[in-house]
């Protein structure tokens, strides 16, 4: 897959980003470089290789089940836009 200059202009327009002619060319080359990288990775035969959930081959450390956090509501709510009766207030949402 590779992008043309008009693809770049269209994406830039959708994203409301103004790009110059020179920037568009540079962006096209960079994006196409990324697509090449993806194509290269997709060409590798991964049959029989288990997918990784994380880039590092280590496991999660666990925490003892203890209450360690004090009530710091006043401090947190001091920087909240709007609170009342201990609640954070947000514009009305009803599903």
């Amino acid at each position: 897959m590779s992008l043309t200059l008009s693809d770049i202009q269209r994406i830039a327009h959708l994203a409301r980003i103004r790009v110059t002619e020179a920037e568009a060319e540079q962006t096209r080359d960079q994006l196409n470089g990324i697509f090449e990288l993806i194509a290269q990775m997709q060409a590798v035969d991964t049959a029989g290789v288990a997918p990784m959930a994380h880039a590092r081959d280590v496991f999660q450390r666990l925490r003892a089940d203890e209450v360690t956090e004090p009530d710091r509501r006043a401090a947190y709510q001091a920087v909240a836009p709007q609170t009342e009766a201990g609640l954070y207030l947000v514009p009305k949402v009803i599903e």
């Binding site: 450390r61 925490r63 089940d65 609640l87 954070y88 514009p91």
Partner: protein
């Protein structure tokens, strides 16, 4: 046309940890709003989740209890959706590699023959760990919504069944069996009013005999067994009517309204969320070491199914009694404690008193077994006095009543209130003579062949002894007298 109902349940069980799944904030119920929501729970920038060992351990315990496969490596994923009571913009859950896969739970369902029950196995798909969201309060804030994040980050184990149930009754039997199990092993307190055990039901119908499933609708957030049954019954009738009227069922999420007893549409599949699951980069895969699993296994209590079988086998109890006694761990423990003192030979008597008088009194006073004013030692004492003939059933009920309302040991109560059964046959004979002399008409009727007259005489004797005579003994003596 004959229709068949197909039901699968998803149950959110709140785990009994002291602290949250990814933070050290308390999970205690009923606190001041946001007083138990720390920086991780309110999702301040830069905070990181740290997994609670207690939550993982409870999931292992549940997996072992249902004979499931425990994924030695399991992974947390982000489930993305936008809602103000989910301040991160995603819920941390498990998707591709949940901690528990497979397993099953046996339920008792009514069989074709009336009064009989048979065992049915419900397979489980999976159970995964996740965090709960906060709570939105839509009233009373002049057009704004109030957010309480105390519940955010509370550990949940979501337990998903296969679509193995075929009626609302079966779904309720499964939900009850699951409730018994999770409270039994202590992974969940089972408090449905507080939302610790919430049920979603996936319901569809299909013509009987058809292989493929019909289109399902999901009823969300049922928090009582009664609502679960009502909601499914309504939903099934509604779906059948729709199809018979020539409409198609559209996959949807619905809510049950307990006031009207109806389900109503919340959203259809078209506007269903695309959750864009992906592994959470803030959390590494979780490894379950074998020795940890074995430690958890070693600490497991005897499970209700095993105990039920043992009660039937060792004590000769009926399936009904055994199932009733193992419906709650505290009740089963009360039973075994009482039996240890009353003797195994009295198992049936103990079972009867526990499930009869004691359960009825608990229900009447709206008490749990833990709050019963009578303990195993008192009940055992009472049962021993019935077994050795000191108390008739009727007198035993009076002793029970005194123990329940005033307390005290059965022997002391029997002594103090003079509730001992009369066994002195001389004294009983004397009373019988008096009764026979005072009721010549009944005596004549009996001699003329009227069985009823005999019962009337027994009644008179029992009355004259204030219920303290042993009815069997009275029968015996009366028969001899009348024959003589």
């Amino acid at each position: 046309m004959q229709w068949e109902t197909v039901i699968g349940l998803e149950v959110h069980t709140q785990l009994t940890t002291r602290s949250k799944i990814f933070s050290g904030a308390s999970t205690a119920f009923g606190a001041e709003p946001n007083s138990q929501a720390c920086q991780v729970d309110i999702a301040l920038p830069g905070v990181l989740p740290v997994l609670n060992k207690g939550a993982v351990e409870r999931a292992i315990k549940f997996g072992l209890a249902i004979g499931a496969k425990l994924n030695r490596v399991n992974v947390f994923a982000r489930k993305n959706y936008f809602y103000p009571d989910l301040p991160k913009g995603y819920q941390i859950s498990q998707f591709e590699l949940p901690i528990v896969e497979g397993g099953s739970i046996d339920i008792q369902v009514p069989s074709e023959q009336a009064g009989q029950a048979e065992t049915k196995t419900v397979r489980l798909t999976r159970a995964h760990l996740e965090e709960d969201a906060g709570k939105s309060l839509h009233e009373d804030f002049h057009g704004m919504t109030g957010i309480d994040l105390n519940r955010a980050g509370t550990p949940l184990l979501e337990i998903v069944s296969e679509p193995d149930m075929r009626s609302a009754k079966e779904a309720v039997a499964y939900a009850r069996a699951l409730h018994t199990l999770v409270t039994w092993i202590g992974t969940c307190d089972g408090n449905m009013q507080e939302g610790s055990f919430r049920v979603d039901a996936n319901v569809s119908v299909r013509p009987k005999g058809q292989q493929e499933f019909g289109t399902r609708r999901e009823i969300k957030n049922l928090n009582s067994f009664r609502f679960l049954e009502q909601a499914i019954d309504y939903e099934v009738r509604w779906q059948i009517e729709q199809i018979e009227d020539g409409h198609k069922i559209v996959q949807a999420t619905v809510l049950f309204d307990p006031d009207t007893g109806e389900t109503r549409m919340m959203r259809t599949k078209e506007d269903a969320h695309d959750y864009r699951y992906f592994p959470d980069p803030d959390l590494l895969p979780v490894k379950l070491e074998e020795d940890w699993i074995e430690q958890v296994r070693a600490a497991m209590p005897e499970l209700p199914a095993a105990m039920r079988a043992r009660f039937q086998r060792d004590y000769g109890l009926s399936a009904y009694d055994a199932a009733g006694l193992t419906s709650q761990r505290e009740l089963a423990v009360f039973f075994t404690d009482t039996l240890a003192l009353a003797g195994e030979a009295n198992a049936k008597l103990v079972a009867n008193w526990l499930q009869g008088e004691l359960s009825a009194s608990l229900n009447r006073d709206e008490k749990g077994i833990g709050a019963a004013p009578i303990g195993p030692a008192q009940l055992a004492g009472l049962v021993r006095r019935i077994a050795d003939g000191t108390l008739s059933n009727k007198l035993a009920k009076q002793v029970f009543e005194v123990m329940w309302t005033e307390g005290g040991e059965p022997d002391a109560i029997i002594e103090a209130k003079g509730l001992k059964q009369m066994s002195d046959s001389g004294a009983i004979e004397k009373i019988i003579d008096e009764v026979l002399a005072g009721n010549p008409k009944s005596v004549e009727e009996f001699r003329a062949g009227k069985e009823k007259a005999f019962n009337a005489l027994v009644g008179q004797v029992m009355k004259a002894t204030k219920g303290k005579a042993n009815p069997a003994q009275v029968n015996e003596l009366l028969k001899t007298k009348l024959a003589g």
